[in-house]
Symmetry: C2
Subunit: 210 residues, 2 copies
C-alpha cells in the first residue's frame, strides 16, 4: 500500500497515537499540535511529526492537526476500515476470553469459528459460536473467507497447525502459543508471548532493587 517500507518501530507506535487521538476526539477536541500531543503522550513532538510524515502530510502549518481527521487517517493506515474474518484455534480459557472480548469486533475483527481437539467441548457454544472439530477447519477456512487465525493452543501443536492453516489460505496469525512459527514471508505473524512479558517485568523488578 505504501511506497517505502515503514519500520516496525513506527508501526508499533501507531496504535498508541490512534488511542490518544480517539480519546481527544471523544473529549470534543478539534485540533491538536504535535507539541500538545507530545505533552500528553510523553514522546517528543519531533518523533510524532516524523512518524506521521512517513504516511503523508496530515497537518497544516500554523494550525496543527485536525483531531478527527488524523484519527480517521491513522485508522485507515492501520487497516481498520477493512473487515477481517477470524478463527480461534484452541477453546481453552484464553481462547474463550478472547472470543468474549467484544472490542475486537468493534474494530472489524469478527470471530467466525472456534476449533478444538477436545471432543467434550465440541458442539458447545461460546458467545453463540459453535466449537468445531479440527477436521472441519480446512473447509471452514476456505468457505468463510477466513484471513486470520488466532492460535491459543499448546506450543507442541502450534507449528504444525500453523503450517496446515497456511496451506488453507490463512494470511495472518495472532499467535499466543509460546513458540516461534515458521511461515512463508508473505504470511504475517503477530506474537503475544505472555510469559516473555512477565519475565521482562520480573527482570525490571529485580534490577530495580539494585
Amino acid at each position: 500500500m505504501e511506497d517505502k517500507e515503514i519500520s516496525q518501530a513506527v508501526i508499533g507506535r501507531l496504535p498508541r497515537y490512534f488511542r490518544y487521538l480517539g480519546e481527544l476526539k471523544d473529549e470534543g477536541m478539534e485540533r491538536v499540535s504535535s507539541q500538545e500531543l507530545s505533552d500528553i503522550m510523553r514522546v517528543t513532538a519531533s518523533q510524532i511529526r516524523q512518524d506521521l510524515n512517513n504516511f503523508g502530510g496530515f497537518g497544516q502549518q500554523g494550525y496543527g492537526y485536525n483531531v478527527e481527521y488524523l484519527y480517521e487517517e491513522i485508522g485507515k493506515i492501520l487497516g481498520l476500515h477493512k473487515k477481517h474474518n477470524l478463527i480461534i484455534v484452541g477453546a481453552g480459557h484464553l481462547g474463550q476470553a478472547l472470543v468474549n472480548y467484544m472490542n475486537f469486533e468493534r474494530r472489524g475483527f469478527i470471530f467466525r469459528g472456534i476449533f478444538d481437539i477436545d471432543e467434550k467441548i465440541q458442539g458447545t457454544q461460546i458467545r453463540g459460536i459453535t466449537v468445531r472439530p479440527m477436521s472441519e477447519m480446512e473447509r471452514f477456512v476456505r468457505e468463510n473467507d477466513i484471513d486470520i487465525a488466532v492460535l491459543t493452543i499448546p506450543k507442541t501443536s502450534a507449528v504444525d497447525v500453523a503450517e496446515q492453516l497456511v496451506s488453507y489460505g490463512i494470511k495472518g496469525f495472532w499467535n499466543f502459543a509460546h513458540v516461534d512459527l515458521h511461515v512463508p514471508g508473505n504470511i504475517q505473524v503477530e506474537n503475544v508471548h505472555l510469559s516473555d512479558s512477565l519475565m521482562k517485568l520480573s527482570y525490571n523488578l529485580a534490577s530495580h532493587d539494585a
Copy 2:
C-alpha cells in the same frame, strides 16, 4: 543488581534466549556456540555475544557456551529464582484465563488473591482462589507480601486502582487495561495491549497487499 543500565531492547530478547536454551537443554544438548544458536534462532551470532556480555562472560573460547549453565544464568538475570506474589484485579474472562494458566506458577509467579467489584462473583472460587471484594484489597496486599498486581479491569478504573495499589506497596504492574498507567519511577509497568497487537497485525496484512 547490575552496574550499567541495560537497554530494554536487550532485555526484551532475554526471554527468547531462555526459551531456546531450555529447549536445547531438554533435548540433552550440552554445549552450543553463538553460531549454532544464531542458526536456530535466526539472529546474528554477534548480537547473541553482545547481549550476553552485558551480563558477564558466560562462554569459553574454543568451546562455546554450556547450555545448562547459560540457561540457569539467564534465569537468574531474569529474576526467575525469586518468588513473586501476585493478585489479579478483575475476575473477568481474561483474569480467569490467567489464573488458570499454570505455567506462570512454575516460574515463581504465584497468584495469591483475586479481586472484583462484582458482588455476584465475590465469594466464588477460581482454581481454588476466592474472589474478594475490592474493600479487602489493601489489607490483603499488605499482609500477604504482594509485589505484583495484574490489572484485567476496564481502562476506566485502571488508573485509579493502580494509584491505590502503589500506595499499598505494590512494586510492579502487569497491565492488560488499555490505558497508560502513570506511576512513580520506582514502580515497574509491563503493558499487554492486546488491541494494539491486533492493530499491528492488521497493518502488516494491509501493507502486504501492496
